[in-house]
């Protein structure tokens, strides 16, 4: 091991752990500032998320959302693209899922609707990512800005559609009608009756998320396309020189990314709500950024990070119930600090750790 380099376990284990610890320490300080005991808060948080069946169910339910959006951001990251529009793509993807369910739910069982809903979500999500991708590839407009703009356009579009077109006659709240049984994913509490999931909405979409992780892993590390995506992300010039078309890779990667984000609706729209609601994505697209950063773009890392955020979301709800001064917004703060320390300040501890390991290795060399 040469000077200035770190063993893999430090790079992929210790440094992310240090960043995470820093984020949690600062979160703890915030709790102290509002006059509560951080250790008490952690206790309720963990108990709320893992202490009983229903809590675990909710944790898995939230984690499912974050796996989809985390994968979406991660795939784009591999090509060096920052897809900040996961929120909008998930939202529009939900529309595709809802349309599939509305069209089919009265005629066929759920497992026939399922593939159509998956196709609808992926297709609509990908379509929403297409224009920013095309503009980045062909016209050089920055994908970060265009995807931000498309989040807002999606939100305006969906409010219009839900409150003017999809709303059933005679109702006031902007949402579609409830899907019949043919448009509802089975809940795990009805599938695995031996385990007590309480009233939690965790459903079969969880297994879809795990399956998609395997597909993404195969795609990125075991296909020609994945190789091209990674080469383009590492060095676009070299990739172009090697005959990889930047336009093609940018557009294909963003379509995959948008499609993955679009699948999130399977969990919420088809699994939990069984109808399309305003703002159902609820910020999961942005959590995906934190998940992808923490998971270092690898499906295993993303599953772990999504579980952590699922735990925070569910535990945070319990915490807000037990200690009302710590409202659910605490989760947003923790999320912000994780993004800050694991993302933007990712290299903050690196020099110190490198110095530590250098001294350590030179000591052993002399001895």
């Amino acid at each position: 091991m040469s000077k200035g380099q770190l063993p893999r376990w430090v790079d992929f284990g210790l440094l992310p752990a240090l960043n995470l610890i820093a984020a949690f320490i600062v979160s703890g300080l915030v709790v102290v500032i509002i006059g509560e005991d951080p250790f008490e808060a952690v206790k309720w948080l963990v108990w709320g998320a893992l202490g009983y069946g229903e809590g675990i169910g909710y944790t898995l339910y939230y984690a499912t959302n974050f796996i989809f959006t985390g994968l979406a951001v991660a795939v784009a990251f591999h090509a060096g693209l920052f897809n900040i529009g996961g929120e909008g793509q998930a939202y529009v993807g939900g529309l595709g899922i809802a349309l599939a369910c509305l069209a089919l739910d009265r005629f066929i069982p759920w497992w026939v609707t399922f593939p159509f809903a998956i196709a609808g979500g992926a297709l609509f999500g990908a379509a929403w990512a297409f224009i920013p991708a095309y503009l980045q590839a062909k016209r050089g407009s920055h994908i970060v800005i265009t995807t931000i703009m498309f989040n807002f356009i999606a939100s305006a579009l969906m409010v219009y559609l839900l409150s003017n077109i999809l709303i059933p006659q005679g109702t006031m709240s902007p949402s579609t009608r409830n899907f019949e049984a043919g448009g509802q994913l089975p809940l795990l509490r009805n599938v695995f009756t031996s385990f007590d999931f309480g009233q939690s909405p965790v459903n079969l979409a969880f297994f879809l998320a795990l399956a998609v992780c395997v597909v993404v892993w195969l795609l990125i590390w075991h296909t020609k396309l994945g190789y091209e995506i990674r080469s383009f992300g590492k060095n676009p010039d070299a990739a172009a020189y090697a005959g990889i078309s930047p336009v093609r890779i940018t557009i294909i990667t963003m379509l995959i990314s948008g499609g993955l984000a679009g699948l999130m609706g399977i969990n919420v729209v088809m699994g939990e709500q069984t109808r399309l609601l305003l703002d159902f994505a609820g910020g999961a697209g942005f959590v995906g950024i934190a998940v992808a950063l923490m998971g270092r773009g690898h499906p295993i890392g993303i599953i772990l990070a999504a579980m952590l955020f699922g735990l925070l979301y569910q535990g945070g709800a319990e915490l807000a119930f037990e200690i009302p001064t710590i409202s659910r917004d605490m989760i947003v703060v923790i999320q912000a600090l994780v993004i800050l320390f694991a993302g933007a300040l990712e290299h903050m501890f690196r020099p110190a750790v490198v110095a530590f390991f250098d001294r350590f290795s030179s000591d052993t060399a002399e001895a």
Partner: protein, 322 residues
């Protein structure tokens, strides 16, 4: 007819002001090469701090100072991450937005227990509307009278300040030594470095100015336009300002016109809600809400002119490779 036009334009000014402050804020940051998608978070943080301080000290001015202080603090976090640590500027901006969204409600709930709001401000703790001299006396003069009395007069001091800031920013960016250096580090930091300028220091100064201007924007929302802080009260204004900055091609005077345009769309949307437009029919309010973003995307696509950002924006500066 004239009355309606004046009414719409009057609210255009009010709605443009927070955009204009934030847009000018972003201009300093991006001109120095720091991409800032955290404008939204800084506005929100400042709105909360301003409302809280104005309530506690019964003074809008102390509120404004507190707003600026918090906004600059957030700007310095962004600066530390993107200048000193050379982190990803977009990621850092996202973090700032979340930090502000979470902390404002969390602290608001802990301090005031009103569901994340701050207590309503009375008129002594707000920036009130100013009647310009002779507004009443001239109100009866045809055409000019109503324009002067209802459109130009009768805004609070921050509205006037935002428009006064435009020529000032123009002068600073294009006519002072600091402005020249600022643009230099945004276009070609290594050349600026070779000329003996500190890229780090200049970029930090730009981020601090950005924080100050966002502070004005947030304080305007909660202690001038509104009377207290409401959860998520910035409601995407930071992103519209970002869009406006691109639309304005990073130029202060363009920024003013763009912010007026986007403010006008907003005012029109409110005015036209549920009304028929002759020949078109009723236009959904969402069209007006989406229009600033659609226009910006169209501009970015290069179909109406070209928006070329400062060359070095978003790229951390590394003094030398070791």
């Amino acid at each position: 007819m004239l009355d309606t036009i004046i009414l719409v334009l009057d609210s255009t000014f009010r709605l443009s002001t927070p955009l204009l402050f934030a847009c000018l804020a972003g201009l300093f940051s991006e001109r120095s090469g720091i991409v800032d998608i955290g404008l939204e978070g800084k506005i929100l943080g400042s709105a909360f701090a301003a409302a809280a301080a104005a309530y506690v000290f019964q003074s809008p001015w102390i509120g404004l100072l507190a707003g600026i202080f918090v906004s600059v603090l957030l700007a310095l976090i962004h600066g530390y991450a993107s200048i000193t640590q050379r982190g990803n500027q977009v990621v850092s901006g996202v973090a700032i937005n979340f930090l502000a969204a979470g902390l404002t409600v969390l602290l608001g709930q802990a301090w005031f227990s009103q569901g994340g709001r701050t207590p309503a401000l009375d008129s002594a703790s707000r920036f009130n509307n100013i009647e310009l001299p002779f507004a009443d006396a001239l109100a009866d003069v045809p055409v000019f009278g109503p324009i002067y009395a209802n459109l130009i007069s009768g805004h609070n001091i921050l509205v006037y300040a935002s428009f006064a800031a435009v020529p000032l920013v123009w002068w600073i960016v294009f006519r002072t030594r600091f402005g020249l250096r600022l643009r230099a580090v945004g276009e070609n930091p290594s050349a600026a470095d070779t000329a003996g300028l500190s890229v780090t220091l200049l970029r930090y100064r730009a981020t601090i100015i950005c924080g100050i201007l966002c502070g004005f924007s947030g304080a305007y929302l909660s202690v001038a336009q509104g009377a207290g802080f409401i959860k998520d009260m910035s409601a995407g204004k930071g992103f519209i300002a970002l869009a406006a900055l691109i639309f304005a091609k990073w130029k202060p005077v363009n920024a003013m016109f763009t912010c007026l345009l986007f403010g006008f769309l907003d005012a029109l949307a409110i005015r036209l809600q549920g009304q028929e437009i002759p020949g078109i029919g009723e236009v959904p309010v969402q069209v007006f809400q989406a229009l600033p973003y659609v226009l910006t995307v169209v501009l970015l696509a290069g179909f109406i002119g070209r928006a070329i950002p400062p060359k070095a924006s978003g790229i951390p500066y590394v003094k030398e490779r070791t």
